[in-house]
């Protein structure tokens, strides 16, 4: 759809990707089923539901931090451009890109004693 100057490139140490333009009403479960084959290759995933409906609709997104940079390339080959079709027959074409911020939550985030 849009050509962006941030295509997947080799020789990189980046591991965090963002899945964009997912259907607004997709559930996390549906998405996770689709990428089941990669289940043991990432250590962090977070899902941002979109907003369905006629007004101010927005796409869903997900962020995934893979264990190895090579996993990213393979995943992008597999899922970039993946088509979702909703019950009305509308198509949504997934975009897989490196997340612009590569930060992921620190595992040791303390429990807040407040």
């Amino acid at each position: 759809m849009f050509s962006v100057g941030f295509e997947m490139k080799g020789s990189s140490d980046r591991t965090k990707v963002v899945l964009r333009h997912l259907p607004p009403a997709i559930s996390q479960e549906t998405l996770m089923d689709q990428i089941d084959g990669f289940a043991d290759r990432y250590h962090w995933v977070t899902f941002r539901p979109g907003k369905p409906g006629p007004q101010h609709q927005s796409y869903s997104r997900a962020y995934i931090d893979f264990k190895k940079p090579e996993d990213v390339i393979e995943f992008a080959d597999f899922f970039d451009g993946h088509l979702f079709v909703n019950e009305k027959g509308i198509q949504f074409k997934t975009i897989v890109e490196y997340a612009p911020s590569q930060r992921v939550p620190k595992q040791w985030s303390k429990k807040d004693g407040r």
């Binding site: 997340a99 612009p100 930060r103 303390k110 429990k111």
Partner: protein, 257 residues
């Protein structure tokens, strides 16, 4: 025709409380208190709503945006997942703004640029994120059939986005590799500016202020051709530097078999 009275949105008490803290209580004297109150919230319930409110920085006063960035940094100690989400979310907002280029969203898009800059000032994003964003704004949609709607030739909004971000955090790019990165970016930026032709005066004044503040001695090119030549020179220089580097690596390889 009769119209029913507009029904006011009823928000759960916790959401009302969050809004009160962020949109009316928050100022520089109360920020410690607000941070403490936010930490006391039931996080698993409130996190999505809190994220939504943090993205509404454009509703408050422009001068308050740094307080929201400061809160983000303060919360990251206990809720790093949230702080990471804030950064991802603001970068997504910027990207969606470029994809839609909706006139009605301009105010909030400017606020998000400012927010990103403040997140850098609170050491919550790296300079590489700032520079990637700056270049993204220069090139997004260019070379596609949608170019004229995404970045119309007479539209200077992207210049305002960039000046906003650099006004907020550009003064930190004054040494080392980030200084060189800003020098390089400003050449590309000048080429972009010149491609727009004659600028509205307010934009031109903002640019003059920006250059005076960040790089008072930098050449301001006066034609697209000059700026193009400067970009080409820059790229040739970079090319020769990386070739030198490759050569010296080869050399050291042969030294150490």
């Amino acid at each position: 025709p009769e119209r029913s009275a507009r029904v006011a949105k009823v928000r759960p008490p916790l959401h009302q409380y969050i809004r009160k803290l962020l949109f009316s209580d928050l100022d520089k004297t109360t920020i410690e208190h607000v941070l403490r109150q936010l930490r006391k919230l039931p996080w698993s319930d409130c996190e999505p709503y809190l994220l939504k409110c943090f993205m509404k920085v454009y509703k408050g006063k422009y001068g308050q945006i740094h307080l929201i960035a400061s809160l983000t940094a303060g919360l990251s100690r206990y809720h790093d997942e949230f702080a990471v989400a804030v950064v991802d979310e603001v970068l997504e907002e910027i990207r969606v703004g470029l994809e839609l280029n909706d006139y009605g969203m301009q105010q909030r898009r400017i606020a998000h640029m400012r927010f990103l800059g403040e997140l850098y000032n609170y050491e919550h994003v790296d300079s590489s994120v700032i520079f990637d964003t700056l270049y993204l704004i220069l090139v997004f949609g260019h070379g596609t059939p949608e170019q004229d709607s995404l970045d119309p030739p007479e539209d200077c909004f992207r210049i305002r986005m960039i000046t906003t971000l650099l006004e907020t955090c550009g003064h930190y790019f004054d040494r080392g590799s980030s200084k060189r990165k800003l020098d390089r970016f400003l050449v590309h930026f000048q080429r972009y500016i010149l491609s727009k032709g004659a600028l509205p005066l307010d934009i031109e004044f903002d640019l003059q202020d920006l250059f005076a503040e960040l790089r008072p001695n930098m050449t301001r090119y006066s034609s697209v051709e000059e700026a193009n030549a400067a970009v080409i020179e820059l790229e040739e220089h970079e090319h020769s530097v990386s070739a030198d580097k490759a050569n010296s690596e080869k050399y050291s390889d042969s030294e150490n078999p």
